[in-house]
Each structure stands twice: as structure tokens, then as C-alpha cells.
């Protein structure tokens, strides 16, 4: 099971948080800070696994992360997940973002957090891996975006439809 997915930048600013177990908001922020603290002090050439997030999980849980340019993608998972598998999954997720946003960068995540969530929802559901095939993920995301678009056309009031997808 995946307990949480955190995306934050090199300064620890959260860009997406997704907890699959309830934590109150202040606790969430504390976890982000702790995780950032643990992850950020590691060189880029050390391994991507980390034990010892004390706030989240415990001994059965591991932090598995990847660092892309300015962003950290951190998955907190328990021992039922394969470490290398999750690393691959992060890669799939990022590649999917890259496809959906066309050369994704931090700004895309900043301004379209909702869309990143929708993409993530096609990859992981309720803490369990839903789909690992990138084409399938992209296809489902696109169908839903199309639906959204057609709705906003019908709605016709959407001059600055806040949900239009960047094309």
C-alpha cells in the first residue's frame, strides 16, 4: 500500500500532496517538512530509498523518491510494494505528466494542481496501484478532459472557464 504521495520543490514547497490515510492539516504539513528535511539533504547520487520517517508510518514504511530538476516526488509505501516497482511507477507518473503537459515543468504543477491530481488518480487509487501502462493512463485522462471541454462549450458561460486544459 502507498500511504502518501508528496511532491515538493527544492525548497520544500508542496506542489501536490495526497495522503491515503487521514492526517489533520497541521500534521500533514509537519510530515511534508520532515520528509523534505530527510530527502533534501541527500545527494543525487545516493540511493532512492529512505527509512526513518518517524511521523508517517513506522518501521514497515519506506520513503521512495525521485528528484527531477526542481521537484521531489516522494512515495511513502509499506513493505507490500516492490521498491524498484515504485521507482518505475514514479517514472511512469512523471512521464505521463510530461505527455499531458507537454514538457512538464514545475510551473505546470503549480498552476494545475487539480489536473495533476486527476492524472494521479488514474495511476494510484486509494493507495493501491491502479494502472501502470502510460498509454492507458494518458488515454483515460484525455477522454475525461475532452468531456470537460465539451461541457464547458455547452455551458457557454465559461469565458474564463477555470478548468480548460492548456492545449
Amino acid at each position: 500500500m502507498i500511504k502518501a504521495i508528496l511532491i515538493f520543490n527544492n525548497h520544500g514547497k508542496p506542489r501536490l500532496i495526497r495522503f491515503y490515510q487521514y492526517f489533520a492539516e497541521d500534521m500533514q504539513q509537519q510530515i511534508i517538512r520532515e520528509t523534505f528535511h530527510l530527502v533534501s539533504k541527500r545527494d543525487d547520487n545516493v540511493c532512492n530509498f529512505l527509512e526513518g520517517g518517524s511521523l508517517i508510518g513506522g518501521s514497515d514504511y519506506k520513503l521512495i523518491y525521485r528528484h527531477y530538476a526542481t521537484l521531489y516526488f516522494v512515495f511513502c509505501v509499506d513493505s507490500s510494494e516492490s521498491e524498484l516497482g515504485i521507482l518505475d511507477l514514479i517514472q511512469v507518473f512523471v512521464e505521463t505528466l510530461d505527455k499531458c503537459f507537454e514538457n512538464v515543468c514545475e510551473l505546470d504543477l503549480i498552476f494545475h494542481m487539480d489536473k495533476v491530481h486527476y492524472i494521479l488518480q488514474e495511476v494510484v487509487m486509494g493507495g493501491m496501484v491502479l494502472e501502470t501502462n502510460m498509454n492507458e493512463i494518458v488515454a483515460q485522462v484525455e477522454v475525461q478532459n475532452r468531456m470537460e471541454k465539451s461541457e464547458s462549450l455547452v455551458g457557454s458561460v465559461a469565458k474564463n472557464g477555470h478548468v480548460t486544459f492548456p492545449t
Binding site: 501536490l16 524498484l84 516497482g85 486509494g126 493501491m128 494502472e131 465559461a158
Partner: protein, 1256 residues
């Protein structure tokens, strides 16, 4: 009203959207909080408006603010409003917000039940999907109970997209509503073989998650998972399954034996590191579970260790980390195989990556021996000095202590060395583990009597130097060490060289800054020291020292009397009064030492930590019984609380303290002493043992610990523990030399209390004698201590509730709650209706896949019944078996067929424990050469036969599928009829239907089973459906099957899938007939008329229709052109559309899976009627059984016999041509020799086989 809406939308243009909000926050970096609070005010305004778009926008912004740490639960109701919008766009926003901030105590959740139910049954699959995704994050027990049935229905949705989500969410439902597990489980199990890989993977995921917590309930699924493991090519699924097996094998060693081979193969063949790693992990788990070392397994261990070494040596840090992680698992059971890689692991200790260093540390734990302990610890101590982060330093510290103290100090040969290590560790500043060091000091000093002199001296120095007192010690955990030091000095004060000095040190004013519990120990032990000083002064005529000591106490103790800590205060004032009284006596020259020392007389024995818990409950004592019956007002009320009490008591057998009177204690002590005296292995602390210590070369020159106060971590020169390393070297050398001299003399040294452990140690270890005789006092346990140790289970674990027996048949009471005013299967019904129609208009014999699915559900319901029937059959069979034994040789075929009927388990439907036993009992016995053949025979042969050892080698493989038996039953009707006399006519008819249906539809599946009935189970989720045509409205896939009963007919099954948002109706299917092949049209219609597809398709729905074609010649493949016309109906308009396609009739599609027995097969080949041909396939990179399964599945063959990498296969065309194959594989080359009575057909079939494998 209209105006209001317009106004709303105009307002909205000025509202901030999410992007504006983000931009705003970024532009207000200096007063972010203020800016956000104004934004929240705006949002509150927006939420008050009626316009749902505005509300959704506001909720979207709130989701963002939630990420920044703002509590947005006040908007929960608005979120629910947005969730219930009819527009997907808003609904999605609402569900996202809900999934981010709803939790079990959000009260508006109860309002959502109906909305969610509505969304779940929405015709739009994405509405359903969004609802499922949201629900997975905030499902509560109530929601789970109310929606379990709806979700269960969705598990059979036509869209794999919904199916996989519904399957996944079931796990959450089970967690919140455990009662749903049993009713939902059969369907969940079914999904393991879903044609869609995503759904299959989801089902595997859920079951693995369930099984991880309660593995024993899922053992019966092992055969199914085994089948999946050997057939699946999805690494995600494989990893999950392999991980699951890792959890199952400890429960069933036979499973482990079965697994080793396929796992080893995977290790050799896979290129995916993740898969390789998990295989290695599971092999390790298997090896651990097989406690008795089987000879073959050393190879497996070697393989694992080898592979892991490769990982560790890899430059990829991730692999290195995982390699070490897995290595530590091997270490537990096979330390020797790991120890040979010590170099590599020590190297990892120097790695720059902390995670890797920590893993390497873990490994060190198991790699120490008497020989290398000092060396390794020395290395670790160096790391302690170098370590920059406290976390890592603390980890090092605990590891050093763990390593040294493991298995009752097994590897320590010199406890002086260990004490000095502990003392050195006290110089670590800021460690959290002061108490750990302290408890080690206490433990060693108490249990190793011989070391007390040394320990006391060291502790006295610690107290005296008291560098530990400096600094802010409240947060400096290291001061805990002083607790131990003070206690040791006090308790064993008779060994102190200068007790007065130590006493003085313990009463320094600075001590008052220590934490209370430490001060208390100081005070108490000061009194002990006082007693010792008095005793030492007793014979002395000059009593000044004694009196000065009393005065010292009287002067210093008031400081502690003033302590705020109660314990300190109480002890101090008590002792103060005592000392004052003693002083009085001293002044009268009364001898008081004896009396004072008597206060602290007697020795404390170490008690094992769990001793108290393990005191057995005496017979006849019921801890749950009332001591006094509670006053009862009325009888009924009296009973209830009682029951509740008994239930709530978590572990009520926790023993209470049993009081033992003083006499009894004394008696026991005496008895124990007697026992110890008679025990030759128990060596008491005697003066002689100390002599040994003094004999050790140069020990007396050891400097008293010099702790440099100014530079706590860097002591000039060698740290003192290093000197022990040198000394130890010298000592060992000397010993060796001495030993050579006294070679003949038998060594008589024995170490008490741990003799057993030494026996198990390596031989060379035995040569190292401890520097001094050590008496490690074993911890006391109560007599008759209970061995059980079940206190590690967490009563709050939600998975405890899921520990449910899944194999018991369902009771009626267990049905999931269904809302009666709603049809439970509403979303599915149109499809089913269509299905029924299609079945009605088409030939009645044919059934669609969906109906089959429905059937399975029925089957579940009928399972109990069918089991009983099976039992009956078994009885009958056993009767029969006796006569058959006589006629065995004449009638092997009959026999095997009949027995199989009884014994072959329908693996796909019922998996009972007995089935599991059956499955496991055929685990390959490692006798290699004959293995494959015998196993194949054993597997194919039913149990009784196998037991009799009568399985003839030529025994054909038996299909396991029950339906398959039915097929045969019609072939051997005469025999069968005898058996089925009792069965009703009706049923028989049904079976005939089945039989047909089976061949036209399920044939592939069954043939797969045929293909790999041997030790590997077959591949289920392959599909023969291939694309027919597709446009933006509709997609058609099709499959062609021969019709066994009519040699000139084939059935084309076409699945129509509506891809658009509109309704599709009036579909007409038409084909341009050729001379050879014609579409069968209803009587009275012209040769160019189309056939009406007997259903309509709502958006997102798919359904299957069948069309019968008549063919004349079947030796050549053929293509037919055709067209589908249909009407696309929107709300306001409808358009006519058409789609052209080409139907490809391959020669394969004229073949029908037909079982054939090896003797018949041999006759056929001998007959000489067949003409041969052959083909070679290069570069086929798949296991042989996969290859066979593919041929079986895609080309409708069945395996006649398989030996090692060679198999004979058979199939028959609808016109009765025999096709025989001999498939051999070596490396990546597969050669197929084929014979058939129709060479053209054969050539085409072989071409098609070749094509199948060129595609994969």
C-alpha cells in the same frame, strides 16, 4: 431567475480562478497569510451563491489551500453540493476536494450515500470512476456497508476501466466493513482471471494485500496464483504474486518446494531487476521455511547470494541497497553463505550513502564471530568518531551494543574490553541512547560476576570524572549512564578500591542538577557505600574516618532532602535520619557496621523481562471469575455485564502476581543452589576466576580510564578499548602456543549457561577461550514458565477483523445488504436484456460470454450442492475402483477418465483445503531425470491411482476443467450414462448445451489447461479476439470457432463496443458471401440481406453477437468483406453510419480442441495415412509450457503427452482431419514436426502458428 443566473455568470468573470489564486499568492510573498485570508473570505462569498460553477471554482481553490495547510473542513457541505452537480467537470472537482479533506469523522459524509450510489450507477463510466476514486479515499464503515453491494456489482461492469476500480476499492470496503469479505470473495477471485490485464492486476493487488495480513486464509488460492505466476507476463502482477508467495510459504513448506524451480527459472531468465529481486526474496523466504536443509537447496542459496552480490557491487545505489536488504534475510538462516562476503559488506560501511551504511550495519550483526568481534567493533568505533549526523551515530551505537550483546553475549571473549567500549561510548554527546548503555552496564555487571571488580573501578571513575554532569544534561540522554554507574558502585561496593572517594563524588552538589530518578539512585547507593565504608573501618581502632564519613553524609544529604522530586526527598530524609542515629551510636563507640550492612544484605538476581507474564495460572484459579459476586438487581441485567467483561478482556489469561511466602522462597533458593552446585557447567564466581584474569599478560598495566574532559571525543593516543584488541591478539597467540604444548590435555573449560550455543558455533570458534572465566547468570524465570510468546499482536490492527475463513460456504445471513427499492444490478440490465434477446433470436444453443459469467455466479450459489454431488460420485467411484483394479490393464482409458471425474479438482471454481493438498502433493520430488515424466503422470492421474502406484506411463493428461469432462461424457456416453442414472433428464440436456457452448466459446480456455496440466499451471488471460474494424462510434472485435456438431459450420462471435456518447441502434451486420463461405441467414431472407444485431448499445456499453457461417472447403484461409450499418442517436438528432470490415477465416479457426490419448495418437501416427511437414521457429524466448499453452490456446490443440522439452499435440478439424504435432525445443529454437491427412491444411496451420510466435 434567469436574470440571477446571468448576473451570477457575469460576477463569475471577475472571480479568481485557481490560476489567479496561485498567481496572487506568489505575488504576495511577504504577506502571504494575509492575502490568503482575504481569498478565503472571497471564497466564502462565492460559496454562498447559487451558481454551481462559482461554487465549484471556490471548492477548487479550497483544495489548493488545503495543500498549503489550511483547514477547509468548514466547507464540507459545499463540497458535497459540488459533488452532486450533474456536470462531470464540477463533480470531479467536488470529489477531489472530498478525497483531500474528508475523513471518518466528517459528519456530512452521511449525506453523500445516495449521491455516491447514483454516481456509481451512472451511465457515464467516468462519473462512476470519479465516484469510486473519491470513495476510495474517504470510505467509512457506514458507506462501506451501504455501498458494498453496488460496488460488488460494478466488479462485473462491462468496462474494464470501471471493473478495475471497483475491484481495487473492495479492499477499502473490506477494511471498513469486514462482513462484506465473504460474500464478495468469489467474485473477487473470479477477477483474477479477468481478460483485462488491468482488472486482473487489481484483483491480484487486493488479494495480495488481504493475504499479507492473514496469509493462512488464502493458502487455498495458491494453485491459482501459481497458475498466474507461470503464465502472466505483467511484471507488476508477477511481483505482487511472488511477494504473496513469500508470505504464504512459511505456512506451507510443500508450497515452497513447488516454487523453487519456477522462481529459479525466472531469476535466470528475467531482465527486469525488480522482478529478479523479488524472486530472490521469495526464494529466500522459501529456503527459510524449509528448515531441514535439503541438498539441492544449497545451490539455490548460492544462486541468491551470487545474484545479490552482483546487485551490491552494482554502481546503482538502489540495487546496492536492495542487495544488502535481501542479504540480511539470508543471514538469519544461512549466515555462512553471507559471511564469505564480509569484505564487500565492510566496504559498504564506508559508502557515502547513509541508507546503505545502515543496511550494511544490519548485516554486520549476523557476521560477527568470536574471532572478529573486536575487529569489527573497532571499525565501528572509528565510524562513531567520524559520523556527522546524530541519527547515524545513534544507529551505530545501538548496533555496537546489539552486536556485542546478541545471543547472551555469545561472541564476547573479554568483558573488560566490552565494559571499556561502553565507557567509551559514554563520551558521545547528544545521543538518545544513554539508557541503552546504562542497561548494558547494569546487565553485564550483574550477570558477569567476574567482571564486577573491573566494572566497579570503571564506574567509580565515571562518577568521579562526571564529565557527564556538564552541559545541558536534561536533553542529554547520556547522563542516564550515571544511573547505572551509581547503582553498580553502590551494589558492588565491596570491590571498590576507595569507597570513600566514590561516596564523596556521589554527594557533590552538582548531582542535584541530574534528573530525579538518577538522584534517587545516587542517594540510595550513597547509603550502601556508607555501609561499606563503615564495614571497612570496623576493625580500625581509630574511628575518625567512620565518623567523618557520617558527617559527610549528614552535611550533604540535606541538599537532597530539599529536592522537588518525591522519591529523592523521601529516600534522602530517611537515610539522613538513619545516619544521624548511626552517628549517635558511633559517638558512643558502638559497633554499628554489621547492622548497617545488614540493611543491604543479600544479592539481587536478574529476572527475565517477561518472567512476570509467564507465571502460569495455578490450576483451579479462574482469573475471570468474580471474587465477590456483584450485587445483582435483576437476573437479566446481571448476565449482560458479565458477558461484556469476558469479551472485552483482551488477553485475560495474563497471570497475576502469585504470592509466595518467604519459606517457600527460601526453599526454592536452596534447591536452586543445590542444583547449581551439582551442575558441572555452572561455574561460580570464585577467587580462582579472578586469578585467570590476573594471569592474562599485561592486564594490570591497563591505565585507569583517562577521560579527557576538554576534548571528549578525541583521546590522545589509542582509545583504550584498542589496547584490548592488541592484548587479545597476544593472549590468543600465547594460548595457541600453550595449547600446542598441552595438545593431549583435554580442555576442561566450560562456560555455564550457554553451553548449547557454543556447540552450534563453528569449530574454530571453540579454540578461542574467553580471557576470564565468565559466569553469565541466566535470567530468572518462574518455574513452569509458559513458553508461549504471543504478545506481539496489535489488537487495534484493522486487518484482524479480516481474518475470516473464506472457504466456508456462504450462509444466507451473509448476503450484502441491498436496498430493496432499487434493482441491485440496474446498470447492467440493459446489456443482459440484449444478451437474452440475442440468445433467443440466434440459435438457442449459443451463449454469450456474459451469460457464462452469470452462470458462474449461479455456480457459487450451487456450490454446496455440487460438492455433495461430488462426494456421492466419489463413493460410487470407490466401489468401482475395486473391480477396475482387476481389469486395469485392459481398460486404462476408462479408468483414468472416470477417476479424473472424481479427483481432478475444478481449480478455477472451488479451492478447498483438500484440493490444495492434492495440488501440493504432486510437488516435484527432486529426483530430476525422471521428474518431468513421473510428475506429469502423477499429476494427470487421479489420486487413488497415484496412491496405488498404478499410473501407467502412457497416461494421458487429464483436463481439469469440469466442463471438459462433460464434453467427454458425451463421447463416452454409454459409460457415463451408468453413472448418471440418478441425475435428472433436465440436467443432461443442459449439459449438452454446455458442451456445445463450450466448444464454440470456451474451448480456448480449456485447451490451455490441457497444455500445461503438468507442474506449471497454464495461462488463462489470453484472448483470441482480434480487431475487426473500428471507427469513432464503434469498435468490433471477433473470434471464430468451429462447430463440432456440424462439419460445415463456423461461428463468428463479434463484440460490439460503443465508443461514443450517443446511443447506437438498428445495427445490421452483412457480409458479401463467397462461393466457399456463406453467412447463414434466417429462412425467407435473400442472399444479400443483412442480419439485425439483436441489441442496442447505450454509450460505453459493449455486447456480443454470434453469426453462423457455412463453409465448404476448409483447407485454405479466406477473407470475407462485410459492412455494419447502424444509427447513431443523440438527444436531438440521429445519423446513419456504416463501417466496413474484413472477416479473416484462418485455418486455425476450423480446428477444434479435441483430447486424444497417447495410444490412440500412436496408432494414428502408425497408420501411415498422414503426410508430414515441419517448421522451425527461431528466437522464441518463452518457457516451454508457455509455448505449449499458446499453441493450445490460439490454435486449438491439446497436449497428448509431454516429456521434458518435447510434447506431442493433437487437434481435429471440423471436417475430421487429424492434425498431429511434435514440438521440441532447445534453447530458443523450436522445431515442430507435423502430420495431417490434408497437406494444404497442415501447411496453412503451420504458417499461422509461425505467425503467432513471430508476433510475440
Amino acid at each position: 431567475m434567469a436574470l440571477k443566473i446571468v448576473k451570477g455568470s457575469i460576477d463569475r468573470m471577475f472571480d479568481k480562478n485557481l490560476q489567479d489564486l496561485v498567481r496572487g499568492i506568489r505575488n504576495h510573498k511577504e504577506d502571504e497569510a494575509k492575502y490568503i485570508s482575504t481569498c478565503i473570505d472571497e471564497i466564502k462569498q462565492e460559496l454562498k451563491q447559487d451558481n454551481i460553477a462559482v461554487k465549484a471554482n471556490a471548492v477548487c481553490k479550497l483544495t489548493y489551500l488545503q495543500m498549503l495547510g489550511y483547514d477547509v473542513s468548514w466547507a464540507a457541505f459545499n463540497i458535497v453540493e459540488v459533488m452532486s452537480s450533474s456536470k462531470f467537470t464540477y463533480k470531479r472537482i467536488g470529489y477531489l476536494a472530498a478525497s483531500q479533506c474528508f475523513h471518518e469523522s466528517t459528519d456530512v459524509i452521511m449525506l453523500t450515500t445516495n449521491q455516491i450510489r447514483k454516481d456509481l450507477s451512472s451511465p457515464n463510466q467516468y462519473d462512476t470512476g470519479v465516484a469510486l476514486t473519491g470513495l476510495s479515499c474517504f470510505v467509512t464503515p457506514d458507506l462501506a456497508r451501504d455501498l458494498a453491494n453496488d460496488i460488488m456489482t460494478l466488479m462485473s461492469h462491462t468496462k474494464p476501466y470501471i471493473r478495475k476500480k471497483a475491484v481495487l476499492i473492495m479492499y477499502k470496503v473490506f477494511l471498513k466493513y469486514p462482513e462484506s469479505l465473504r460474500p464478495a470473495f468469489p467474485r473477487l477471485k473470479e477477477k483474477l482471471e479477468d481478460p483485462d490485464p488491468g482488472v486482473q492486476s487489481a484483483a491480484v493487488n487486493v488479494i495480495c494485500e488481504l493475504a499479507r495480513r492473514n496469509p493462512k486464509n488464502y493458502l487455498s488460492l495458491a494453485p491459482l496464483f501459481f497458475k498466474l505466476m507461470t503464465s502472466s507476463t505483467n511484471n507488476w502482477v508477477l511481483i505482487k504474486i511472488i511477494k504473496l508467495f513469500g508470505a504464504l510459504t512459511p505456512l506451507e513448506p510443500r508450497l515452497g518446494k513447488k516454487l523453487i524451480e519456477p522462481l529459479t527459472n525466472l531469476i535466470h531468465s528475467t531482465s527486469a531487476m525488480s522482478l529478479l529481486y523479488e524472486c530472490v526474496n521469495t526464494v529466500i523466504a522459501v529456503l527459510i521455511s524449509l528448515s531441514s536443509g535439503m541438498p539441492n537447496h544449497s545451490a539455490s542459496i548460492q544462486l541468491c547470494v551470487q545474484k545479490l552480490r552482483i546487485l551490491i557491487e552494482d554502481s546503482d545505489q538502489n540495487l546496492k541497497y536492495l542487495g544488502l536488504l535481501a542479504m540480511s534475510k539470508i543471514l538469519k538462516t544461512h549466515p555462512k553463505s553471507v559471511q564469505s562476503h564480509k569484505d564487500l559488506i565492510l566496504q559498504c560501511l564506508d559508502d557515502k550513502d547513509e541508507s546503505i551504511r545502515l543496511r550494511a550495519l544490519d548485516l554486520l550483526y549476523g557476521m560477527v564471530s568470536k574471532k572478529n568481534l573486536m575487529e569489527i567493533v573497532k571499525k565501528l568505533m572509528l565510524h562513531v568518531d567520524k559520523a556527522e549526523g546524530t541519527t547515524y551515530r545513534d544507529e551505530l551505537l545501538t548496533k555496537i551494543i546489539d552486536i556485542c550483546s546478541q545471543s547472551n553475549y555469545q561472541y564476547i571473549t573479554n568483558f573488560e574490553w566490552y565494559i571499556s567500549i561502553l565507557v567509551e561510548l559514554t563520551r558521545l554527546e547528544g545521543t538518545r541512547h544513554g539508557h541503552l548503555i546504562a542497561s548494558q552496564m547494569l546487565d553485564v555487571a550483574i550477570r558477569v560476576k567476574a567482571i564486577r571488580v573491573f566494572a566497579v573501578a570503571q564506574m567509580a571513575t565515571l562518577l568521579d570524572n562526571a564529565h557527564l554532569l556538564t552541559g545541558s544534561m536534561q536533553r542529554n540522554g547520556i547522563c542516564e549512564v550515571l544511573y547505572a554507574a551509581a547503582w553498580i558502585c553502590g551494589e558492588f561496593s565491596e570491590h571498590l578500591e576507595n569507597p570513600l572517594q566514590t561516596l564523596e563524588a556521589m554527594l557533590r552538589p552538582k548531582v542535584a542538577t541530574l534528573p530525579g530518578h538518577i538522584q534517587a539512585v545516587y542517594v540510595q547507593n550513597a547509603a550502601k557505600l556508607f555501609a561499606t565504608v563503615l564495614k571497612s573501618q570496623e576493625g580500625n581502632t581509630d574511628s575518625t574516618t567512620a565518623q567523618e564519613t557520617s558527617q559527610l553524609m549528614i552535611d550533604r544529604l540535606p541538599l537532597f532532602v530539599q529536592s522537588a522530586n518525591l522519591e529523592v526527598q523521601e529516600r534522602a530524609s530517611c537515610i539522613l535520619q538513619l545516619v544521624k542515629y548511626i552517628q549517635k551510636l558511633q559517638q558512643k563507640d558502638v559497633e554499628v557496621a554489621e547492622e548497617v550492612i545488614a540493611l543491604f544484605a543479600g544479592e539481587l538476581n536478574p529476572v527475565a523481562p517477561k518472567a512476570q507474564k509467564k507465571v502460569p495460572v495455578p490450576e483451579g484459579l479462574d482469573l475471570d471469575a468474580w471474587i465477590n459476586e456483584p450485587p445483582s438487581e435483576s437476573e437479566s441485567e446481571d448476565e449482560q455485564p458479565k458477558a461484556i467483561f469476558a469479551k472485552e478482556e483482551p488477553k485475560h489469561s495474563r497471570p497475576r502476581h502469585t504470592e509466595v511466602d518467604e519459606k517457600e522462597l527460601a526453599r526454592r533458593r536452596e534447591a536452586r543452589k543445590q542444583e547449581q552446585a551439582n551442575n558441572p557447567f555452572y561455574i561460580k564466581a570464585s577467587p580462582s576466576s579472578q586469578k585467570v584474569y590476573q594471569d592474562a599478560p599485561g592486564v594490570e598495566h591497563i591505565p585507569v580510564v583517562q577521560i579527557d574532559l576538554s576534548v571528549p571525543l578525541k583521546v590522545p593516543g589509542l582509545p583504550m578499548s584498542d589496547q584490548y584488541v592488541k592484548l587479545e591478539e597476544e593472549r590468543r597467540q600465547k594460548e595457541r602456543a600453550e595449547k600446542k604444548k598441552k595438545e593431549k590435555k583435554k580442555r576442561k573449560e566450560k562456560r555455564s549457561g550457554r553451553g548449547k550455543k557454543h556447540d552450534s558455533g563453528p569449530e574454530s570458534e571453540e579454540d578461542i577461550t574467553p580471557a576470564h572465566m565468565v559466569d553469565i547468570v541466566t535470567e530468572e524465570m518462574p518455574e513452569n514458565a509458559l513458553p508461549s510468546d504471543d504478545d506481539d499482536k496489535d489488537p487495534n490492527d484493522p486487518h484482524k477483523a479480516l481474518d475470516i475463513d473464506l472457504d466456508k460456504p456462504l450462509a444466507d445471513s451473509e448476503k450484502l445488504p441491498v436496498r430493496s427499492h432499487r434493482a441491485a444490478e440496474a446498470p447492467k440490465s440493459p446489456a443482459e436484456d440484449g444478451d437474452a434477446e440475442s440468445a433467443a433470436t440466434q440459435e438457442p444453443k449459443k451463449k454469450s460470454g456474459k451469460e457464462k459469467r452469470e452462470k458462474k455466479k449461479d455456480k457459487d450459489r450451487d456450490r454446496k450442492k455440487s460438492k455433495e454431488e461430488k462426494k456421492k460420485k466419489k463413493h460410487k467411484h470407490e466401489e468401482k475402483e475395486e473391480d477396475l483394479l482387476g481389469g486395469q490393464v485392459e481398460e486404462p482409458v476408462v479408468q483414468s477418465e472416470e477417476t479424473s471425474e472424481v479427483a481432478a479438482p475444478p481449480t478455477s471454481t472451488t479451492a478447498e483445503v483438500s484440493d490444495l493438498d492434492f495440488w501440493l502433493s504432486n510437488a516435484p520430488v527432486p529426483s530430476n531425470t525422471q521428474e518431468a515424466a513421473t510428475v506429469a503422470a502423477a499429476e494427470a492421474a487421479p489420486v487413488p491411482e497415484a496412491a496405488l502406484g498404478a499410473a501407467p506411463d502412457s497416461e494421458p493428461d487429464e483436463p481439469k476443467d469440469t466442463e471438459m469432462e462433460e464434453t467427454k461424457s458425451s463421447k463416452h456416453k454409454k459409460k457415463k450414462q451408468k453413472k448418471e442414472k440418478e441425475e435428472k433428464e433436465k440436467k443432461k440436456k443442459k449439459k449438452k448445451h454446455h458442451h456445445h457452448h463450450h466448444h464454440s466459446d470456451g474451448g480456448g480456455e480449456e485447451s490451455v489447461q490441457n497444455g500445461t496440466v503438468e507442474e506449471e499451471e497454464p495461462l488463462p488471460p489470453m484472448s483470441n479476439y482480434c480487431l475487426l474494424a473500428e471507427n469513432s462510434y464503434i469498435k468490433m472485435v471477433y473470434d471464430i470457432q468451429g462447430n463440432l456438431q456440424d462439419g460445415s459450420q463456423v461461428v463468428v462471435s463479434v463484440i460490439f463496443e460503443n465508443k461514443c456518447d450517443s446511443f447506437l441502434k438498428s445495427m445490421e451486420f452483412n457480409v458479401l458471401d463467397s462461393l466457399n463461405s456463406k453467412l447463414q441467414r434466417p429462412e425467407g431472407s435473400g442472399p444479400h440481406d443483412g442480419l439485425t444485431v439483436p441489441f442496442q448499445l447505450p454509450p460505453g456499453v459493449s455486447n456480443e453477437a454470434r453469426f453462423v457461417f457455412t463453409v465448404q472447403s476448409i483447407v485454405m484461409p479466406q477473407k470475407l468483406k462485410g459492412t455494419l450499418t447502424f444509427i447513431v442517436k443523440n438527444e436531438d438528432s440521429s445519423t446513419h453510419e456504416k463501417l466496413d470490415f474484413k472477416l479473416h477465416f484462418t485455418c486455425t479457426s476450423y480446428l477444434i480442441t479435441t483430447p486424444c490419448y497417447s495410444d490412440a495418437f500412436a496408432k494414428l501416427l502408425e497408420s501411415g495415412d498422414l503426410k508430414g511437414s515441419s517448421v522451425r521457429l527461431e528466437g522464441v524466448n518463452m518457457p516451454f509450457h508457455h509455448l505449449l499453452a499458446r499453441i493450445c490456446f490460439h490454435h486449438h490443440f491439446s497436449v497428448v503427452e509431454r516429456i521434458d522439452s518435447c510434447a506431442s499435440m493433437y487437434s481435429r478439424s471440423i471436417q475430421g482431419h487429424h492434425v498431429c504435432l511434435l514440438v521440441k525445443t532447445s534453447g530458443q529454437t523450436v522445431s515442430i514436426d507435423a502430420k495431417c491427412d490434408e497437406p494444404t491444411l497442415l501447411g496453412n496451420v503451420l504458417d499461422e502458428i509461425k505467425q503467432t510466435f513471430s508476433q510475440c
